[in-house]
C-alpha cells in the first residue's frame, strides 16, 4: 500500500489531497474568488493560500482518517504556475516532508491533470486536451514522454473566457467560466467572431481583443445581449479546440479523447467533442469539477506514479 499526499496551489485554488493506491481518501480545496471585473494577482493569491493552507492540510488528514506516519510520500506542484502562490505551497510541503521524514517529489501540474484524468476515467492511451485558465495543449504519450502536438500560441482558452467575463462584469463565483456557460445557454443570436486555428495550434488573443471591442459597441447599441456574446464565444473557441484535437487524433491514429483542466468541466465543450468523437468512432472521457479543476489529489496521483517508478531521491531545488 502506498499513500501519497499532494499539495496544489499554482493558481487561485489551493488543494491538498491524499491518495492510497488509486483511491482518493480526501481532497479538500479552497478558491480565491475576486470581485466581478477583477482577476487574481500573484501576491494576493499567495496571501490567500497562506491564510488557509495549514487548515486545509489538517482537513485532508482528518477526512482521510490518517496520521502523518501513515503517509509514504509528499508531492507538491513544482510548476508551471504563478510564482508567489507556488512558493507558499512549496514551503509547507518541504517543511512537513522533513518533519515527517518522508521523501518529497516535485510534480508537473499538467501531468497531474493527465494522471488524474486517466485514473478516474480508465482511459487507456488517449489524445489529451488540456484546457484551463493557464494552459491549452493537445498532448499524447509517445516513447516514455508526454508530448505536445498542438497548443495555444498566445493565451489559454480559459484566460480568454475569464478576461471576457471581466469585461461584462459577471461574477467570479464559483468561477467566471461556469457563469459564462450558464449565460451561453440563454443566448439565441450567433455573433460572428474571428476563427484562428493555425495548423495544429490555436490563437486566442485576437478573438479576445475583437470581442472586448464588440461587447462595448453591441451591448450599448442593443444589437445583441451579453448572453448572445457568451454563446458565440463558446461556440467559436470550442470549435477550434475540437478541430485541433481531431487533427492530433488523425496524426496519432488515436481512438480516445480525454479532456482535463478547469475548462473541461464545460458541458457544451464535452458535447461538441462528443459529436466529433462519434463521427470518428472514438470514445470521449471527461471528469467532473472535483478533478477537472485544480486539486491536491491529482498531484498526489502523479506523485504516486513517480514514487512507484523509483523517483525517491530528495531533490530540493527551486520551485
Amino acid at each position: 500500500m502506498t499513500v501519497v499526499i499532494g499539495f496544489e496551489g499554482s493558481a487561485n485554488k489551493i488543494g491538498i489531497g491524499i491518495i492510497r493506491d488509486g483511491e482518493v481518501l480526501s481532497n479538500p480545496r479552497r478558491t480565491y474568488i475576486t470581485p466581478p471585473g477583477q482577476g487574481f494577482l500573484p501576491s494576493e493569491t499567495a496571501r490567500h493560500h497562506r491564510a488557509v493552507i495549514l487548515t486545509v492540510l489538517q482537513e485532508a488528514l482528518e477526512q482521510a482518517g490518517l496520521k502523518p506516519a501513515d503517509v509514504d510520500c509528499v508531492a507538491y506542484t513544482k510548476g508551471p504556475g504563478m510564482g508567489a502562490p507556488l512558493v507558499t505551497v512549496a514551503l509547507v510541503a518541504r517543511t512537513v516532508a522533513q518533519l515527517w521524514g518522508k521523501p518529497l517529489l516535485g510534480v508537473n501540474h499538467c501531468i497531474g491533470h493527465i494522471e488524474m484524468g486517466r485514473l478516474i476515467t480508465h482511459a487507456d492511451n488517449p489524445t489529451v486536451l488540456y484546457v484551463s485558465g493557464g494552459n491549452t495543449q493537445v498532448i499524447a504519450y509517445s516513447e516514455r514522454r508526454y508530448r505536445i502536438f498542438g497548443e495555444t500560441i498566445d493565451i489559454a482558452v480559459g484566460n480568454c473566457l475569464d478576461r471576457f467575463a471581466r469585461v461584462i462584469k459577471i461574477s467570479n463565483d464559483p468561477s467566471p467560466g461556469y457563469n459564462i456557460e450558464q449565460m451561453a445557454k440563454k443566448g439565441s443570436q450567433y455573433v460572428e467572431l474571428p476563427y484562428t486555428v493555425k495548423g495544429m495550434d490555436v490563437s486566442f488573443s485576437g478573438i479576445l481583443s475583437y470581442i472586448e471591442e464588440a461587447a462595448h459597441k453591441m451591448l450599448e447599441s442593443g444589437q445583441c445581449t451579453a448572453e448572445d456574446l457568451c454563446f458565440s464565444l463558446q461556440e467559436t473557441l470550442f470549435s477550434m479546440l475540437v478541430e485541433i484535437t481531431e487533427r492530433a487524433m488523425a496524426h496519432c491514429g488515436s481512438q480516445e479523447v480525454l479532456i482535463v483542466g478547469g475548462v473541461g468541466c464545460n458541458l457544451r465543450l464535452q458535447e461538441m467533442m462528443g459529436v466529433m468523437c462519434k463521427e470518428r468512432g472514438a470514445k470521449l472521457f471527461a471528469t467532473d469539477e472535483r478533478f477537472c479543476i485544480d486539486n491536491g489529489a491529482m498531484i498526489a496521483q502523479a506523485g504516486w506514479e513517480m514514487f512507484r517508478s523509483g523517483h525517491t531521491r530528495w531533490k530540493n531545488d527551486e520551485t
Partner: protein, 98 residues
C-alpha cells in the same frame, strides 16, 4: 522567538546590509527551516543577494543589496515565508526521530 537583527550601509562597498539570527528549539529544526527556505531564488535577478546558514540551533540570514527599498522588500518577503515555515513546524511538528 526573538530575532535580533541589524542593518547598515557598508561604506566601503556602498551596499546596504542586513543580518538576521533566528534561534530554534533544536539544531534539527533550524536545519529543517534552512532546507525549506533556501531553494527559492530571489524573484529579482540583480541588486540583491541573500545567504542562509545554520550554526548550532540558530538560523542566520545575511543580505546585501544595492538599494534600501530592494532590501526592504526581500526582508519582508523572507519574514512572511519564515513565519509560514515556523507555523507549519508548530502545528505539525516536532520532527520525527531519525
Amino acid at each position: 522567538m526573538a530575532a535580533p537583527s541589524s542593518g547598515d550601509t557598508n561604506h566601503e562597498s556602498g551596499k546596504h546590509e542586513f543580518a538576521l539570527d533566528i534561534p530554534f528549539p533544536s539544531s534539527r529544526e533550524a536545519v529543517i527551516a534552512l532546507q525549506s527556505l533556501s531553494p527559492d531564488r530571489e524573484p529579482r535577478k540583480g541588486g540583491i543577494s541573500k545567504q542562509l546558514s545554520v550554526s548550532g540551533s540558530k538560523l542566520s540570514v545575511r543580505w546585501s543589496a544595492d538599494e534600501a527599498r530592494i532590501l526592504r522588500v526581500s526582508v519582508a518577503s523572507f519574514l512572511d515565508h519564515l513565519s509560514l515555515v515556523v507555523e507549519t513546524m508548530v502545528m505539525f511538528g516536532p520532527p520525527v526521530s531519525q
